[in-house]
Symmetry: none
Subunit: 430 residues, 2 copies
């Protein structure tokens, strides 16, 4: 046999660029083309031309993903199995360290009146009480209500009137109803929380939440800040109401443990940061991010490059703008943010040794301008890697990529294909 | 920002045309082409040309579906999870209202002789006993055998010598064997029904069925009609024998609850009507249907249009002929029924505002002429929708559609893609 002239297996690191909602349907104003087909995006097209392409269903064909379930899939976790619910996502999004088995609920500081022993909701947001006031009230709650029936209770201020409640202990369940009666039902009582299934865990958790709501009212009712607010003609923040209970699945393992790679997420949305943190990934919203068409893409690039230099194996970069444009039925806006994102990609490729890097282009779902909402249409995907099987597709868009060598893949599969192209694949069998 | 010139998101209704067994393999008589390739079918080709196309495995690649499992998948239910078995399908097909947890069995009225305490099967069909006689005997059974071991027992006459038995109560299981020994074993005893797994439910259900068989013989043995039959030289219908026990899965939810849309099924076969009824869908066999190549397609069209005018969201139209032609190895017959079905599709498109409608062409399985039976070959699928991503495929056949943008999808996915194109997708996440 001839002498081997090549080196042993090399491993690579990866960049995954996620354009939120970038997939579209044909737009009449664009001559029946999609924004991706019209946008000038030489760097994305280079990735498609030198790489492998396909279409990707984030969840399954025809099923409309949310940004949360879409990203869970992109991070390699089956949303049907691992979706933690809204409470934990909001909690993680504001930096609450959550562990498997924790139950988290979204709460409002609200205004209630006692009538015949019932708490009547006067205002679901206590007149949109300010964040600094919420912080004072939350401190009072944390000082007094530390444990109920052997379960630890913690409160965290979120944005404006919002608060997150975390229950931590044995035998909890997220299968409980909301106490928040909803905006249409202001003037009605705080709803009793009931278990949503027959388990002892759900029964116990519902009882604890009902007790916490009672206790919270006792703590807040006579709080000096509320007396002050009433004197000033403001509504008192004298209750909490709860919704969106969720639990971090007990069998959820951190990203690094599952995929044997360290990942960092630069994203424009707290929900995505929340998911990333629950999975133990590094994560930040860059300072210049506005999550709009005018976002500071240089700031996003800088955050990604910083993580790259710190040696992370995989960097996810999330750009929100295309989704906003889709919701606004604004195809030209979508084209503009795609083109700006392409420029950012070009700068990124100059800054790193990109030919020795796996670069994947993806999206968390389609947001077609004609639908003005997320849809179940698959998204185009393109993966460049130094040793990948290239196909003949030369452009990154819905039609071109449909002819690619990847075929039609699922969202949860992307990270596995990327790891394989990094030459660090998951292995099954011997 | 420029003025938006289009309207807010529109929703559409859908027609799904199912040509039973239409998929084929190359036929030497047709120069190596398939019947779909040769048939003149301008309307189906229009759907393909203006829509998206692909290939569809009803269950999984290479697995041969039945009409029942194929349709279960087309209705959006995973056959591996929700197939209720033959008994419930036959029951539902004759209009028996079944509920989750009910066990149904296919029965024959048979002729037996008692020998040494055993029931020997003399004729499995009691000399193909007439339906009006069966009805009289079934009435006698229902009058006497109402409950066994706390479980309700009901009998329903089906076609000719066939009867359906329904067991309704707590703790039943479909995992029991047949008592019908089969045609080859006439002259042998009625088989003892045994549990097919270790559960108490299967044991209990088997015991109940054995008791019912004994009781039924006691009721029928001395029935005046049977005395009359014997005097006339006819075989007495003095026993029931059972097979095909099945249960409507306890977690089966109605179509409308799962997919948030009202569907109507116009089909040529009782099994399909049975499945549709179990799923709570509207369903009928149109009066002119013969389920052959000569069926009255105008009658089928009329039934579909009536349901359309009644406002159903989704109409399934089933044409049986192509399957019959496949079983008969009759490629020219298959071409003819495809061409006649295309004319019906053309009339349908004239009657509705079809450009504002989602129209899908599908099949429940392939029945290749060279196989003379169902095969595991995928079927071509084409979906027209007002805002769908069109591909470059211009014909509806096995080869053309293999190049389409839908790629290779699964049967259960079709309804989800159709709902997404109706702009009423299932949602998962926020």
């Amino acid at each position: 046999m001839t002498k081997k002239t090549w080196k042993p297996k090399e491993t690579y690191r990866a960049i995954i660029l996620i354009q939120d909602g970038v997939g579209d349907r044909p737009v009449p104003e664009l001559g029946g083309h999609t924004p991706l087909e019209i946008a000038r995006k030489p760097h994305m097209d280079t990735i498609a031309e030198l790489g492998a392409t396909g279409l990707m269903d984030l969840i399954e064909p025809g099923v409309r993903p949310g940004t949360d379930t879409g990203h869970l899939a992109l991070f390699g976790y089956d949303p049907y199995k691992y979706y933690p619910g809204r409470g934990p996502l909001e909690a993680a999004g504001i930096g609450v360290p959550l562990r498997p088995g924790d139950v988290a609920l979204r709460c409002n500081i609200a205004t209630v009146e006692e009538r015949n022993g019932e708490l009547i909701v006067v205002d679901r947001r206590a007149g949109r009480i300010r964040g600094d006031h919420v912080k004072i009230l939350v401190d009072a709650l944390n000082k007094t209500i530390k444990e109920v029936d052997g379960v630890k209770v913690e409160f965290y201020p979120a944005t404006e009137h919002r608060v997150v409640m975390v229950l931590r202990g044995e035998g909890l369940s997220p299968r409980i109803s909301d106490s928040d009666p909803g905006t249409a039902m202001e003037g009605h009582p705080v709803k009793k929380v009931v278990p949503l299934d027959d388990t002892l865990e759900a029964k116990k958790t519902a009882e604890i939440v009902n007790k916490v709501i009672r206790l919270a009212h006792e703590v807040l009712r006579d709080h000096p800040l509320n007396k002050e607010r009433v004197e000033k003609g403001l509504l008192p923040g004298n209750a909490i109401i709860t919704r969106g209970a969720g639990m971090v699945p007990r069998d959820l393992k951190p990203f690094e443990e599952v995929f044997k790679a360290k990942a960092y997420v630069v994203a424009e949305e707290a929900t995505i940061i929340g998911i990333a943190r629950i999975l133990g990934m590094g994560a930040e919203i860059p300072p210049g991010s506005t999550a709009t068409l005018d976002t500071d893409l240089d700031s996003i690039l800088e955050a990604a490059l910083k993580a790259w230099r710190e040696g992370y194996d995989i960097i996810y970069i999330h750009v929100k703008g295309p989704d906003i444009a889709g919701h606004d039925a604004d195809p030209y806006g979508k084209i503009r943010i795609i083109e700006r994102t392409d420029e950012m990609l070009g700068k990124l490729m100059k800054e790193i040794e990109w030919k020795k890097t796996v670069i994947a282009l993806a999206a968390d779902h389609s947001t077609p301008c004609l639908v003005r909402d997320h849809s179940g249409d698959p998204v185009p995907v393109a993966i460049y890697a130094p040793t990948i099987r290239r196909d003949h597709v030369r452009k990154y868009d819905e039609y071109s990529c449909s002819k690619g060598i990847l075929g039609r893949i699922r969202g949860v599969e992307l990270i596995k294909i990327v790891l394989d192209q990094m030459n660090k694949p998951l292995k099954w069998g011997a």
